[in-house]
C-alpha cells in the first residue's frame, strides 16, 4: 500500500549534525527522502556526506521540511521539537525525550496540542537481537520472566563535551542506560521500584562512570541494568540474559559478531558504535517504521493503530521517568517507588484527549 511508504518527495529536516545524525541521515536517504540540515556545528559536512542541503536556521528548516528529526543534545530537544510540532510537523526525537520528565511530558503535551505525531528514538527496540528476544518472551518461550540482566557500555563519550555534563546529559543513566531501562519495561512490564548506584571518577584526565540500576516489575520480575562509560579503549558491548520459569535467552555482542578480526587497534578518540548482529542497520529499521507512521496519517496516530511504530511517545516519557527515579536513588542512596502502570494510563489519557481535540 503506497500510503504506508514514505513519499519519494518527503523532505526531512534534520536538526543537529552529531553522532546520531550520522546514523539517521543515511537511513532517511535509503528511504528516498530529501534531507535539509540545520546545526550549529557540522551541518555542511553532514550534508556533503549524505547528499543533503544546509539551511540557515530552524525557521527555514521548518518551512521546507515535511517532518523533523531532532538529533540535538538532550537539553535542546524540547525547544526544537515543540517548534516543529507547533509548525505542524511530525517529529522523531532522539532519546532521551528530555533531560527531565517535565520536559518529556511538555513535549508530549505539545504533540497532543498540535495533533501531530511524536516518537522517541529508542533504537534498541529495533535491534534484531532485542526484538527477537522480546517476541520470544511475549510468546511464552521462557515462561514467566523472573530475573533479567542487561548490560551496555563503551568508552566515555568524550567526543562531545556535553555528555560529561550531568546537568545537560543526565550522565550514563539517562543517556545510555535509558535504552535498557526502556527494554526491561518492554520485556518484563511495568515498574514499581528503582534502586541505583553510580560511581564516577576521573583518573589521568580520563572520566569513567559505572552505574547499576535494579528494577522491580509489577508482575514480580526483577531486572539489573548496568551501564559503563569507561576507559578510552573500551569496545562497545551490549548483552542480556533473561531467565523465566520455562527457560532462558541470552545475547552478548562480544560473542555474536559474524566477522571476527585480529587487527591493530583503532587509534583512541573515535566514536564507536554498536555493529548490528546481522542484516540492515537498526537505525534504518527504526526510521522506516517511523516514516510509515508519518505517511499513514497527517495527525496524531493512536498507539493501537496498525501503522503506529513499536515505541510510543508515552514509552519515551516513561523511560525518562524511570531514569529520573534512578538518578534520585543515586542521590539519596535509597530505593525509589514508582508506578509506571499508573503513569502509562494517565499519559495515555492525554493521548486520547489529544487525538480527539
Amino acid at each position: 500500500m503506497t500510503a504506508a511508504e514514505p513519499s519519494p518527495a518527503l523532505t526531512v529536516g534534520l536538526v543537529g549534525a552529531g553522532g546520531i545524525a550520522r546514523a539517521h541521515a543515511p537511513a532517511w536517504r535509503a528511504l528516498g527522502a530529501d534531507l535539509v540540515v540545520h546545526s550549529t556545528d557540522g551541518a555542511a559536512e553532514l550534508a556533503a556526506a549524505h547528499g543533503g542541503r544546509v539551511v540557515a536556521g530552524l525557521d527555514e528548516l521548518l518551512d521546507v521540511a515535511d517532518v523533523v528529526d531532532v538529533v540535538t543534545p538532550t537539553p535542546t530537544h524540547l525547544e526544537v521539537a515543540s517548534a516543529a510540532l507547533a509548525a505542524g510537523r511530525h517529529v522523531l526525537c532522539e532519546k532521551p525525550l528530555g533531560r527531565t520528565s517535565r520536559d518529556a511530558v511538555a513535549m508530549l503535551d505539545a504533540a497532543r496540542a498540535a495533533d501531530r505525531q511524536l516518537y522517541p528514538g529508542h533504537v534498541v527496540r529495533f535491534f534484531p537481537e532485542y526484538a527477537l528476544m522480546r517476541q520470544a518472551v511475549r510468546s511464552g518461550e521462557i515462561g514467566v520472566p523472573a530475573v533479567l540482566r542487561f548490560a551496555r557500555g563503551g568508552m566515555f563519550p568524550a567526543w562531545s563535551p556535553w555528555f560529561a555534563d550531568d546537568a545537560q546529559s543526565g550522565g550514563v543513566v539517562l543517556d545510555l542506560m535509558i535504552h535498557d531501562l526502556d527494554l526491561a519495561r518492554w520485556v518484563a512490564g511495568e515498574v514499581t521500584s528503582v534502586h541505583a548506584t553510580r560511581r564516577s571518577l576521573e583518573e589521568d584526565g580520563a572520566p569513567h562512570t559505572l552505574a547499576h540500576v535494579v528494577l522491580t516489575h509489577a508482575d514480580g520480575a526483577i531486572s539489573h541494568v548496568r551501564g559503563l562509560w569507561g576507559a578510552p579503549h573500551t569496545t562497545f558491548r551490549t548483552s542480556f540474559h533473561v531467565a523465566g520459569d520455562a527457560g532462558t535467552l541470552r545475547f552478548d555482542s562480544a560473542e555474536a559478531a559474524g566477522v571476527r578480526s585480529d587487527l591493530p587497534p583503532v587509534p583512541a578518540g573515535g566514536q564507536d558504535r554498536p555493529a548490528p548482529a546481522a542484516g540492515e542497520s537498526p537505525y534504518l529499521t527504526e526510521i522506516r517504521e517511523v516514516a510509515r507512521a508519518f505517511a499513514a496519517s497527517p495527525t496524531w496516530l493512536a498507539p493501537d493503530d496498525p501503522h503506529h511504530p513499536r515505541v510510543s511517545a508515552v514509552d519515551g516519557v516513561i523511560a525518562v521517568e524511570i531514569a529520573e527515579a534512578a538518578l534520585a536513588s543515586v542521590a539519596s542512596g535509597e530505593s525509589v517507588a514508582l508506578d509506571t502502570a499508573a503513569r502509562a494510563r494517565a499519559l495515555a489519557d492525554l493521548e486520547t484527549t489529544g487525538s480527539r481535540a
Binding site: T197, A243, E334
Partner: protein
Amino acid sequence: MTPAPAPLRVAILSFAHVHAASYVALLRDRPDIELLTADPDAATAPAGELRGAAFAAEHGAAYVDTYAEALAWRPDAVVVCSENSRHRDVVLAAAATGAHVLCEKPLATRVEDAEEMVAACAAAGVRLMTAYPVRFSPEFGTLRGLVASGALGTVLGGTGTNNGKVPAGRAWFTDPELAGGGALADHVVHLADLLDALLGEEPVAVRAVSNRVLYGGDPQVRAETGALVSITYAGGAEVVVDCSWSVPDGAPTWGGLTLQVVGTGGTVEIDPFAAHVGGLVAQGTRQAWLGFGENLDALMLEHFLGCVRTGETPGPDGQVGLRTLRVVAAAQRSAAEGGAVVRLGA
C-alpha cells in the same frame, strides 16, 4: 632418609552436602590420609536420598554412626558437610577435641552462630576454614593479580553472577530452616568471598530484591529462587550480584559463576567454569558439556591439609566466612523489607 610423616587423620562429618562425595573421593585413596566418616543425621533426610552407612559403603569410606565416635578417633582435621543450620554444633564439637575445621559454606545460617564458631575455634587453638573453592581457581588468581598490580586501575565496581539449577538430590537445600534461605543464602557468599579477597574492604551497604517466580509452583522449593543483590564497598566500589537459581533443568551443566570487574584501566571478566568441550551428542538430541577446568575442591583440600600439616593459617578463614554471612543476612533483611538499603559496620 627422613621417614614419611604419619598420615593425617581426617573425618568427614555428615553427607548432607553434595560435596561430601567429592571430598570422600579425593581423600579416600591417599597414602598420607586416614579417612573416617559419620552421618548421624541421615535418618532426618527424606527417603530416597543416599546417606549414612549406605552412602559410605557406596563411596568406599570407613564409617561410624555418631560424631562422638568419629571425634573420639582424634582426627587432626574435620570437613563439615552437614545441613547449614547444623554446622554450628558440629564445628563446636570438633573444635573442642582439637581438630582443625574445614566447614562448608555458608558458615552458618545465623550470624551469631558463625561468631560463636569463630570464637570457639580461636579459643581451642584450631584453624577454621570456610569452603569457598572458587577462591582457588586460576582465573580468580589472574584477576586478583591484575587488581593487585594496578593494571585495572581504581576499581569502580562490577557484576557477579552465580546462577545454577535448583539444587536437586538433597531436599534440605530448598528448606529455608536447614539451608538458612534460598538462592540468597546459597549463592551470594561465593561472590562476596571473591570480592572480599579482591578489594580487601568491608561492604558498607547492601540492598536486595528477590522473588519466587522460578519454581514458584514447586512445593519442595520454599525459599526465594531469584535475587539481585547490590553491595557498596567501603572504598566506593559498586557491585550487583545475580544469585538466582535460573539455570533450567535441561542445561548441559549445573550452572556457573562469573565476575566482571570494571576499573579505570579497563574491564576483566572471569568465568572459572567456562573450560569445556561442547557439541551435540546422543543422536544430536543433547548438548554436550565436557568440563576440563581445574578441580577446585582438590585445590582447596590440598591447601587446607597443607596448612594443617604446617600449622599455617588457611584461607578463606572463618572470619571471611563470618563477613560473607553478614552480607547474606543484610541481603535477606533488605529483601524482606522490600528492598530497603541496609547499612553495615560501625
